[in-house]
Symmetry: C2
Subunit: 354 residues, 2 copies
């Protein structure tokens, strides 16, 4: 493997000193980029793109060719795992992801298999190929959905406003939900370890829907399974620690308990002031975030000011360690790419240590 030329991102996740604050952007490879849309058109469909390692490599590198980002993230989707558990992922126009066979009955849950890793070879192939194409420019992030977030999609059969079916199962048949979560946990561990073995240099666990739970339900149905994922991951590869990031959107109330599950860093949405979050978690974990993605609809000078605010909120002193700059959630497809460029430069410039 090529020598890593820029390890700023990995160092920040381990709370080591860095020359500046590294930045990457959730969904940095995506629809706001015209070149992504071209590849997507060639591929014919989202799944045609996501299941083809050549296309995945192409779109993963597109944002890096435009902006001096400090990490690449595998282009994929969190629903590849339930798809490999036999649920039949498809995308219906304008309605987002759906499953042909959602989990509704006890029978559905009992016969749910673990993810078939053979059917996920397109993901590990993509990881290897992207690492080759990156040639050590920046580290590559692998990722998966959290066991709870995957369960939401698997039970609802797609997106939801209120997670009515999931919560009905949670209250009426918690044993069934725990069975799904067990199987998801094992599948996610195997999947992320396969990404690490293929070359992912850091991993992020996305708990997109954990924030829909009450305090007690989060502590019962999401966090313990995320903790088991962390405990099951390979710690080192290629002679280097593989840092883990855990992100619960809407999880600001639970930062203390999130900081104790064995992740190296927590992702934050934009509702919490990052300095307040830092006070609450102390030196247990690094923090990633947390600019409101809609800030990118401001003018470049306002974007610069808002980015500086996040940096200043984090850093009581200029030498504070353990910050990875990011948005608080995925970038909007309507974002002007020039504004992303303004953000990346602002973060690098304003955070440069003497």
């Amino acid at each position: 493997m090529a020598i890593l030329k820029n390890d700023t991102f990995l160092r920040a996740l381990m709370r080591q000193p860095t020359a500046y604050t590294p930045i990457w952007i959730m969904r940095q490879a995506g629809r706001y980029l015209p070149e992504y849309k071209s590849t997507r058109a060639k591929a014919g469909s989202f799944l045609g793109l996501a299941k083809n390692p050549d296309y995945c490599t192409e779109v993963t590198l597109q944002p890096l060719d435009r902006f001096p980002l400090d990490a690449a993230i595998l282009f994929s989707d969190i629903l590849t795992v339930p798809d490999a558990m036999g649920l039949g992922l498809y995308f219906s126009d304008g309605e987002g992801p759906k499953f042909e066979r959602p989990l509704r009955t006890e029978e559905d849950v009992k016969r749910l298999p673990l993810a078939d890793m053979n059917s996920l070879q397109y993901v590990t192939d993509a990881v290897s190929q992207i690492r080759g194409a990156l040639d050590g420019r920046v580290p590559l992030i692998g990722f998966a959905g959290s066991p709870f977030t995957l369960a939401c999609y698997m039970i609802e059969g797609g997106g939801s406003d209120d997670f009515r079916l999931t919560k009905t199962m949670m209250f009426q048949r918690p044993d069934l939900l725990h069975t799904i979560l067990d199987k998801n946990t094992e599948s996610v561990i195997t999947y992320l370890n396969a990404q690490i073995a293929a070359g992912a240099q850091a991993v992020q666990l996305f708990d997109t829907w954990g924030g829909a739970l009450s305090h007690h339900a989060y502590q019962t149905f999401s966090l313990p399974y995320a903790k088991r994922v962390m405990a099951g991951l390979k710690r080192e590869h290629e002679g280097r620690v593989v840092p883990r990031i855990f992100f619960t959107k809407g999880g600001a109330s639970w930062l203390e308990s999130m900081a104790a599950i064995g992740a190296d860093a927590l992702g934050l949405d934009w509702t919490i002031q990052i300095g307040d979050a830092k006070k609450r978690v102390g030196h247990q974990v690094a923090l990633q975030g947390n600019l409101d993605p809609l800030t990118l609809f401001a003018t470049p000078d306002v974007i610069t000011r808002e980015a500086e605010q996040v940096l200043n909120d984090f850093a009581y002193d200029k030498n504070a360690t353990g910050h990875v700059f990011n948005l608080g959630h995925g970038i909007s497809q309507f974002t002007n790419p020039e504004h992303v460029e303004a953000l990346v430069h602002a973060v690098h410039r304003a955070s440069a240590r003497e």
Copy 2:
């Protein structure tokens, strides 16, 4: 006016001792009740119902005839205010509320009038009529949307996932957003004072979308205007204090600052453990909440256990004051009314003081 027979709710809001923990439910008059659907069918449309004081009175009292709730809430909609500011409220099937004339340009904003109180007489008529019909059974709650939440709808022209137009204005032309917020604030103060004069015995300000903001933006664009509303409200009527409740969905990160704006109580969504919230706000305010509305999809015995958990989380000791039980957001239209009955009885039974 009839003597108030049950003032438990008002006493709890003022943190006075009560014989048990009072309960009401956000959207308690609504689509989960078959009798509501009958009235709605007679009225022909949602606005036909909301603009007719007879129908409003009928549906406001329906849940009280079923369940021993401790408060009634005016049946209305927060968007009556922008409608009275000339934006043209209408409901499109399956898409929720819309405005014919959303605020998009500087010209739109400059010529925006304050709410025309004459056109809102149907609301104050409904308040008077409901007070008569209640005949002192329980207190009547009036309400309004927060200046920021109203601005979101007024700018977007309806609901939104990301508030892109609102936030674009916030970042690019904050002066225009402040102008809208000023006008909304004045209109909401006049509107709530008219409800109080007509007989509302407590008021709630719904900041439904404040939680979509970053920490700094919330402190700039939502909270100061909510504070101005509180300062502008008539404090007493009919010889009694009119308590104010302030509710920001998704506001758990900001409780300390919310507690300082002059509200008597804060509404909480279900993501925060209510005992943790109480530790953070101390004795400044009462707390209202905070059961996950989807808990009502559990069986009655599980509903009882979950309600007891919220009561226990709040009460370090059985004599703790200042709790109004509620859901953390509006009740789902798919709720079984018998489950609401189980909840109301569980709260009354489990919280009864010797």
